[in-house]
């Protein structure tokens, strides 16, 4: 596999951890735990239920939550939809205003747009130039009729960390809004302590943390009395919030993956930070480059760089044979439009378009980083030469 492109797109998805995959396969076939976890009338069901509950406990432990807080879903998109629509529906008589940010994932922004079409009002906050949201500005947007504040923990494009604890503390002091956090990019990268954050709802995804695709969870704080209306009916599983047979193998894979990610976070953080510094140190030598979110608190796993004087599609095409990276978020890169997240940070269309997101993970090593730096440097210099760019053919100090 030496000819395969170097994989630096861990923020899009990760390979399933072998330990998690092994646990999952134990729950699929006739000689394994294939029973319906909702079938309480026989041993097959009881065995499956026990594995689901064990997985629930693993997820809860990794996230500083109670097992009863965990509602398994098909992923973070479903969890975000459940949080937003479920809260809006439950509290519709208390108010119809939502606060969120322009830099949220589409799975938050699109439900908000849909609620606007249904008569709700949404305030979309613009972050500062480095992508950070001031908690005081979030709190200032809360009104008496605000029922939900939805802010992501780690931005999927820039890696910028929002101070969701402070946002929750300030926002709940002002009004009665419920606080939802999209933490899809957080697990294994920075500490997530659901109870300590003081939030009501928190979405997570398994496949961003070496678990399977098609698995996630919404954490609903029982302690804080958070309530939701379900979106799916028919069976009443997951405390009535998410009907449908729980996929035992998915939950088991997610539990194992979260346990591993949580245990490895301490050692991985320093290693990834060193690799990220190595990458940025090499890329800044190209000159005319901007590290997006440089001055904000960031997870080291994401290095998002804009390159002046090169066209975005050509940059991606030039590096694609050798590197697996994203321009903007993977979910929107097919549209070939400049990243709305980087535009919200004040980058112009050209600079937003010519950005590459390198996301590092468990299997990234120094050789991968050196390959990536060399490939990108060569591509940028070549494209600048073709474009007659002022920096073509000479190295300048990084900006």
């Amino acid at each position: 596999m030496s000819a395969s492109p170097v994989y630096l797109d861990y923020a899009a998805t990760t390979p399933v951890a072998p330990e998690a995959a092994a646990r999952m396969t134990e729950c699929l076939t006739r000689d394994g735990t294939f029973g319906n976890p909702g079938s309480a009338s026989h041993a097959y069901g009881e065995e499956a239920s026990a594995r689901v509950e064990a997985a629930r406990a693993q997820v809860a432990t990794a996230l500083g939550a109670e097992a009863a807080d965990i509602v398994f879903t098909s992923g973070a998109t479903e969890a975000n939809n459940l949080a937003i629509f479920g809260t809006a529906q439950y509290y519709k008589d208390a108010g119809r205003h939502i606060v969120t940010a322009r830099t949220e994932h589409k799975s938050v922004l699109d439900p908000c747009r849909e609620l606007e079409r249904r008569g709700w009002t949404v305030t979309y906050l613009k972050p500062g130039a480095e992508g950070a949201l001031d908690p005081a500005r979030v709190a200032a947007a809360v009104r008496p009729d605000t029922v939900l504040v939805s802010i992501m923990h780690v931005n999927n494009e820039t890696g910028v960390i929002a101070d969701v604890g402070a946002i929750a503390a300030l926002s709940t002091r002002i009004g009665n809004a419920r606080i939802h956090v999209d933490a899809a990019q957080s697990v294994g990268k920075c500490e997530v302590d659901f109870a300590a954050l003081g939030v009501d709802l928190l979405s997570v995804s398994a496949h961003k943390a070496y678990g399977p695709k098609g698995a996630g969870a919404l954490l609903v704080s029982r302690r804080r009395g958070a309530h939701l209306m379900p979106m799916l009916y028919g069976g009443g599983q997951e405390g009535g919030l998410r009907s449908g047979t729980v996929a035992t193998h998915q939950a088991v894979g997610m539990g194992a993956a979260f346990e591993i990610a949580s245990a490895a976070r301490g050692t991985e953080h320093g290693r990834i930070a060193a690799l990220g510094e190595r990458l940025w140190g090499a890329l800044r030598e190209v000159g005319g480059v901007v590290l997006n979110g440089a001055a904000a608190a960031r997870v080291p796993h994401v290095v998002n760089v804009s390159f002046e004087g090169v066209e975005g599609e050509s940059l991606l095409a030039a590096v694609q044979p050798h590197l697996a990276v994203s321009t903007g978020s993977a979910c929107t890169s097919a549209t070939q439009e400049p990243s709305y997240v980087l535009r919200a940070l004040g980058r112009d269309d050209r600079l937003a378009e010519s950005s590459l997101r390198f996301s590092l993970g468990r299997f990234t090593n120094e050789a991968d980083i050196d390959t990536a730096a060399a490939v990108v440097t060569r591509a940028v210099e070549r494209l600048r030469r073709i474009a007659g760019h002022r920096d073509a053919g000479r190295r300048i100090a990084g900006t």
């Binding site: 004087g309 090169v310 066209e311 599609e313 050509s314 991606l316 095409a317 030039a318 070939q336 112009d348 269309d349 050209r350 378009e353 030469r385 073709i386 474009a387 007659g388 760019h389």
Partner: protein, 131 residues
Amino acid sequence: MSYNELTRRYFHDPACIGTLEGPDCYRGAAGSRSAGTWVQFDIRLGRAGAEPRVREARFLAFGCPHVIAAASLVAEQAEGATPESRLPQSVHALRERLEAPVEKLGRLFVVEDAWIAALQAAHSHITQSSC
């Protein structure tokens, strides 16, 4: 975005990059970097008998792989063209050869506009010289 073999070849290893200098050289450009596509052609004229002809062409381009490949193809195939002529092949023919999606037609027209601008610069000089 996927690219056909011709586009990949002329994008990854384009011919005729650069500029030309001299009294027999003419320049034309179109588009803008801020709008996402900019192309410049330089052509050097010579004579084949009484007829002025393009002896060589160079290009610079800021744009997507299809634009770079198209500009390179045009520059490479320009040798022998008369200054009055249009593109060596139509924009639609270029799009077909490069299998560029239809929404990129506008970008390929920038290539044509730049080529015509270079030819017009040459043509107006020749016309003025013969007056």
